[in-house]
């Protein structure tokens, strides 16, 4: 297990009350560990340390939590565990008290590429999850129209993903996940491939969607500024093995705007998180250099 978590704060109470909290589910990770080579012969060159070890994390209904960490800290693995795409080798993930056993529409996923179905229009992409449910066509269309409108793409419903910009594609991906009305939305570097200006727009947009839908959000990013700007809590992961080293509340007003980025409290927290991430990143690279030499 990891060393004493000096910086860790009790993880249950959100710093800022969620806007509605009703649409969101409670996510709980207890002692979650992931070792991709557990029980098997370790292939040559594979790291001898598990990817994740002893992760305890509680996300309250309607809370917005950001996970940051340098590459190799297992943050994507953590998200995939919550999504149910992989099973933890230790511990348990529960949503509203029920164990996560596999992927499901109550845990929507948005990844960096968007992973839109390229043969489906924006509207048909959003409709995908609803088509699998016993739902009248008219009702489905009504919901798709609402979500298209919510993400500001009402004029683009007939476009194929190839005809949309990067930011628009991510909006469709978010709407597609939301259309299933998930208890928690999982975002894996959703804006990592966007240019800076689009990214800024998308961050404000995501805060708005979160406020509108009241869903729980768990977002993974390597962009510390983004994490502090968006989250109510920022969880810092370190590598070798991947573990939680800090869980910091973001004490900023709920209505975040561009001015938030100049708020001294914002700048202070950003610097603190950046220092933490950098510290663990450097420790990781020097360990790598030591094993390589």
């Amino acid at each position: 297990m990891s060393g004493p978590d000096l910086t860790k704060t009790p993880a249950t109470a959100p710093a800022v009350p969620a806007p509605t909290g009703e649409g969101g589910g409670a996510l709980l990770l207890r002692g979650v560990g992931m070792d991709f080579h557990a029980g098997r012969r370790r292939p040559a060159g594979a790291p001898a340390i598990p990817t994740l070890v002893g992760v305890d994390l509680a996300v309250a209904p309607g809370e917005f939590v950001c996970i940051v960490g340098a590459s190799g800290s297992g943050k994507s693995t953590l998200l995939r565990l919550v999504a149910g795409l992989i099973r933890p080798t230790e511990g348990q993930v529960t949503l509203d008290g029920r164990p996560v056993e596999g992927p499901g529409p109550e845990r929507g996923l948005v990844c960096q590429s968007g992973a839109l179905f390229p043969w489906r229009t924006a509207a048909a992409n959003i409709a995908f999850g609803l088509e699998l449910l016993p739902m009248p066509r008219a009702e489905r269309r009504r919901r798709v129209a609402w979500y298209l409108n919510e993400v500001g793409l009402e004029a683009y419903g007939d476009r194929l993903p190839g005809q949309l910009s990067g930011g628009q594609r991510q909006r469709v991906a978010i709407a597609r996940a939301l259309a299933c009305e998930p208890r928690v939305v999982l975002l894996d570097e959703p804006f990592g491939a966007l240019d800076v200006q689009t990214k800024e727009d998308m961050q404000l947009f995501l805060r708005q969607v979160w406020a509108d839908t009241g869903t729980t959000v768990l977002m993974v990013t390597h962009d510390v500024e983004e994490a502090v700007f968006l989250g109510q809590r920022v969880v810092v992961l370190a590598s070798d093995p991947g573990r939680v080293v800090a869980d910091l509340p973001v004490r900023l007003p709920a209505g975040r705007d561009l001015g938030t980025r100049r708020d001294p409290a914002f700048l202070e927290l950003r610097a603190e998180v950046e220092d933490l991430v950098r510290l663990h990143h450097r420790a990781h690279t020097s360990r790598l250099a030591a094993t390589a030499g």
Binding site: G102, P103, W119, F128, L132
Partner: protein, 332 residues
């Protein structure tokens, strides 16, 4: 000069840009030791080796890399360059017209005997004769029916097999070795076996077609299916799709254009095999007509049949291409 108060927790390395401009310009490529020294003495030495012993900028022991003379301007088309639409059409027309002209001049000049290379006019009239007598249509129909039936059977076998191989690891492991081996056995070498097994009737010809097409089409379908991005499969699961729904609503539409492309390539092979089958043992079909004409040295008839085979093949190709463009609009 900025960069004096870098907000880093670690000591900032003395970067090469911090040198005064004079030192940078004095580092001439010929002299191994730059007169001004390779690092500003007022700057603290950075990480070990940075302010080194060598002569070049940054303390390296070599000068700038040798330069090549610039490439001569070329009038040849650049690699990867497209042509303008008018040029493209001219080239397309030439692609058909030039061989035709060569044919006409060769046969008109009398350099080649008419028996070996009949003139286009003779071929045309032979074709008209065959069409009048009705044998051209009955032969074409026999061959088309065989190709259609054999190709459909081959597709019906190979698409599910390829789909399974491309989407499931166990099917891949189970089928790839045997199909990889069978694929290299020439289908025409099966003709004697097929005649022993199935006789001289229709079934042996259709079986030859199936053998000739099914293995290639299976492997090509598997390749297309395997190319689906894993994140599409993952995201489908998180949207609530079950395994069979992922196969039907995600993998199939993704792979369909590529599967039609594979079928298009293999349809050409099917036409090869039907003619081969009819050359050996048949009483009808375009291949049979070619062997008949050979017996009486009617090269004009052979040419006419070849042209018909080519045109039918081209039609099939164009139809499948249209189908592909229709379902694969998103892929362009």
């Amino acid at each position: 000069m900025s960069g004096t108060d870098l907000p880093l927790t670690a000591p900032a390395p003395a970067v090469a840009d911090d040198r005064p401009a004079s030192a940078a310009s004095a580092a001439s490529p010929v002299s191994p030791v730059s007169p001004a020294g390779s690092a500003d003495p007022t700057q603290p030495a950075g990480p070990a080796g940075r302010a080194g012993v060598g002569g070049g900028p940054g303390g390296r022991a070599w000068g700038p890399p040798p330069r090549r003379r610039p490439a001569r301007p070329s009038r040849l088309p650049k690699l990867g360059e497209d042509v303008s639409p008018p040029t493209r059409w001219v080239l397309r027309v030439l692609s058909v017209v030039v061989p035709l002209v060569v044919w006409v001049t060769l046969s008109a000049s009398g350099a080649v005997d008419d028996t070996f290379l009949p003139s286009p006019a003779a071929v045309f009239s032979a074709g008209v004769d065959m069409a009048r007598s009705g044998e051209l249509f009955s032969d074409t129909w026999s061959s088309v029916r065989r190709v259609g039936l054999g190709f459909l059977i081959a597709v019906a076998i190979s698409v599910p097999l390829g789909f399974a191989m491309g989407s499931m690891g166990w099917a891949q492991a189970l089928l790839e070795p045997v199909i990889g081996l069978l694929r290299y056995m020439p289908a025409s070498a099966f003709i004697p076996l097929l005649i022993i097994w199935l006789g001289l009737g229709e079934s042996s010809k259709i079986a030859l077609l199936v053998i000739g097409v099914v293995f290639f089409n299976t492997l090509m379908t598997a390749d297309v299916v395997r190319r689906i991005p894993p994140d599409l499969l993952e995201v489908s699961g998180t949207l609530g799709a079950r395994q069979h729904e992922i196969a039907r609503k995600v993998i199939l539409p993704y792979a369909l254009p590529g599967m039609i492309d594979a079928a298009r390539v293999n349809a050409a092979a099917a036409w090869n095999f039907v003619v081969v089958a009819e050359l050996v043992a048949a009483t009808s079909g375009l291949g049979y007509r070619i062997t008949r004409a050979q017996r009486f040295l009617q090269t004009d008839k052979i040419f006419a049949v070849l042209v018909v085979i080519g045109l039918i093949g081209l039609t099939i190709d164009v139809l499948l291409r249209l189908a592909r463009d229709r379902v694969g609009r998103w892929a362009r």
